[in-house]
């Protein structure tokens, strides 16, 4: 649970500046019709929820498992599997 609140805080801290910036531009410079503003904000909201799920998933899946793969590969005594896997995963 603690993990989830940290990610949620990260996402809010990440998206709020961008959204505020857009609103600032909107008020002083852009003056777009309300429909466009709503569309942009709706997209931003969807993106931030997606960002939350993505970070949650990465923390759960890829970071611990990537570590396990790395440790298994590094403990082999030959280096070619490490090199091939580096190329394959990078691709």
């Amino acid at each position: 649970m603690h993990h989830i609140t940290i990610i949620a805080r990260d996402v809010v801290l990440a998206i709020v500046p961008l959204a505020l910036l857009f609103l600032l531009f909107q008020v002083f410079l852009l003056k777009l019709p309300l429909r466009e503003v709503a569309a942009v904000l709706k997209g931003t909201l969807i993106a931030s929820f997606g960002l939350f799920l993505f970070l949650l998933g990465v923390g759960l899946a890829f970071l611990p498992f990537g570590r396990a793969i790395g440790m298994a590969l590094a403990s082999l005594d030959r280096s070619w599997p490490l090199l091939t896997m580096g190329a394959l995963l990078g691709f």
Binding site: F22, L30, G50, F54, L55
Partner: protein, 230 residues
């Protein structure tokens, strides 16, 4: 609804090979405990759904945000406005970039708390913001890309020669994570917007290049952090 499916397919195409390779590794080499593998499966589903929504949100809102702002900037003819907007958008879009968030968390974990993740995050974002501004001014003045590239990478290489090696590897990773799903489209849309309004500028030679230049910024910034920190 078909847009959602289309995005989901796009994400599957890009994540699918990675998942296959990981599964193959699990049965052949890694043999991680089942619990860890299940955790991997659940996490992958979350990440796929999340990425789909992120792409959707970028398409629906964030791209037009960049385009609107980029198009409005040159109309006032104020360089100060263009420069400060580039700083602000560069900083804000980098701070919200998922790749950058993941990297700065990994750095904090690997350094066992000796480098706080938010410090790393802000250093990366400041570096990007500074170079994004230079790149934006390049569009306005029509400076050749090659001089800026030589100057940027030249100073990065020079700095790399005298900071502790661990900063060098961090710095170049930081440069590449800033070109991710969120900041790249926003920055490119902004650059396109600016170059489309300026006369005599073509979107191909001027609209692109901003992200490439801007991503040298975090490299230089983290190297400078290494110089100051050691």
């Amino acid at each position: 609804m078909s847009v959602v499916l289309q995005k989901l397919l796009e994400v599957f195409k890009s994540v699918g090979p990675l998942l296959l390779v990981v599964c193959a590794l699990q049965v052949t080499l890694v043999h991680a405990p089942t619990q860890l593998f299940l955790q991997f499966a659940v996490g992958s589903i979350l990440a796929i759904v999340g990425l789909t929504m992120l792409f959707l949100g970028v398409d629906l809102g964030l791209l037009s945000m960049g385009k609107y702002i980029g198009g409005a900037l040159p109309k006032r003819g104020s360089l100060v406005l263009i420069a400060s907007a580039a700083v602000a958008i560069g900083f804000a879009s980098t701070v919200s970039e998922p790749d950058v968030l993941v990297l700065s968390q990994q750095i904090e974990q690997a350094a066992h708390g000796s480098m706080a993740s938010h410090v790393v995050l802000y250093v990366i974002a400041l570096g990007l913001a500074f170079l994004a501004t230079l790149a934006m001014l390049r569009i306005v003045f029509g400076w050749p890309m090659k001089y800026l590239l030589v100057a940027g990478y030249g100073s990065a290489l020079m700095l790399a020669a005298w900071v502790p090696p661990r900063y060098v590897s961090l710095a170049f990773d930081a440069g590449s994570v800033t070109t991710g799903v969120l900041s790249a489209p926003v920055l490119i849309a902004m650059a396109m917007g600016v170059s489309s309004v300026l006369a005599k500028r073509t979107a191909i030679s001027d609209g692109f290049g901003l992200v490439g230049l801007a991503s040298i910024g975090p490299v230089i910034a983290l190297l400078l952090m290494g110089v100051l920190g050691s």
